[in-house]
Symmetry: D2
Subunit: 125 residues, 4 copies
Amino acid sequence: MEHLGATLTRIYPGCVHIELPRRPEVTQQHGYFHAGATSAIADSAGGYAAFTLFPPDSSVLTVEYKINLLAPAEGDYLEAIGTVLKSGRTLTVCQLEVVAVEGDRRTSIATGQQTLIQIVSRPER
Amino acid sequence: MEHLGATLTRIYPGCVHIELPRRPEVTQQHGYFHAGATSAIADSAGGYAAFTLFPPDSSVLTVEYKINLLAPAEGDYLEAIGTVLKSGRTLTVCQLEVVAVEGDRRTSIATGQQTLIQIVSRPER
Amino acid sequence: MEHLGATLTRIYPGCVHIELPRRPEVTQQHGYFHAGATSAIADSAGGYAAFTLFPPDSSVLTVEYKINLLAPAEGDYLEAIGTVLKSGRTLTVCQLEVVAVEGDRRTSIATGQQTLIQIVSRPER
Amino acid sequence: MEHLGATLTRIYPGCVHIELPRRPEVTQQHGYFHAGATSAIADSAGGYAAFTLFPPDSSVLTVEYKINLLAPAEGDYLEAIGTVLKSGRTLTVCQLEVVAVEGDRRTSIATGQQTLIQIVSRPER
């Protein structure tokens, strides 16, 4: 996330927003954001969203996700929104959305669905 | 791809390999490759694999993909393998695999499935 | 659909509801609806939803879908809701949801995402 | 499965085949197998394949699957093949394939990827 230059901008229980400003490192020759960057912030937003509902001393791993790329990722910045759809004891399912923001215009550029697993850390002694 | 430091290492009709060496920019604090890097090279390997079967003057876009993360992405380098399962007139379906290589040991760390669309470029006049 | 005993209950532009009442043919020994029935009505709801936005003389095919099964499919009937997220010239992306209804209680039992392709029928002469 | 008329034809450790003969109940007006039937046997083949590697007193649930429909499901019978790609303590990942068989000809009509969870049954007393 730091390497990409992305930042968490909103953290609610079960919902996290991540913003990624346009920078040469995450864009192609035509100025579009890389699909890899789009997917990475979507995956992270879902991971953090799941994590907000977990007990302390636990961590989260992405089991799998599926993402549809809907439109060219063009804009001043991308906003990824991860929302928990179902929070189970072991598994959590999140909805992922990525919006490209250019001035006042918001365009949905990707939509996804993600499964995560809660890892309970055993205390180290 | 260049930003990540990845290179195409094998190009066959319908199958492309991409390698990503371990570098600080694509690894976490624990030395694992980022899930975002894993997904990015998997998506690219499938895209290039589809492209090998396309006519000249066409290009390729990822419609969607789904990826399961199977094991921690730990090793000297990652190798992503994209293989065309079905090449249609409009749509292509690829299988994606990512292997972590440490010395002689190869561990499958991700497996995926991808749908791509062929974009026929109209000649510019 | 007829074989399953399912019926279209609501048809809006870009959104279709399908209901499947509990019957021995679509339930297991424990009274739960089969996962196959859940997926079938979800896939159909998305297909019809996409179709509502298509021009006459066209038809629709499911390219792929992904579905998460969230809870046991238990109730008087299942309701599948297909909603178009993005309607393109060639491809359409739908969100799928299946709810189990028991009296007043509605439980989300499955959520999915689907890609469809519009097939333009050429007139037969 | 019984309702569809499908039968398990091969059971290996980590791999199961299911066959579904053409019958009016699982085909459309044009003689193609329903997408719902294709998906149902693919999901079941993966579930049984995962189950072959589980300890006694455990059961299996599909967490999610993704399936690409590659070609019309036309033939004397469909054969679904579920193969375990990764068998973990909690989660199992399977590859799914469905082949349509017409005489000597075998056509791959669907390919998928599935995540399953092992449920350990506590002994009832």
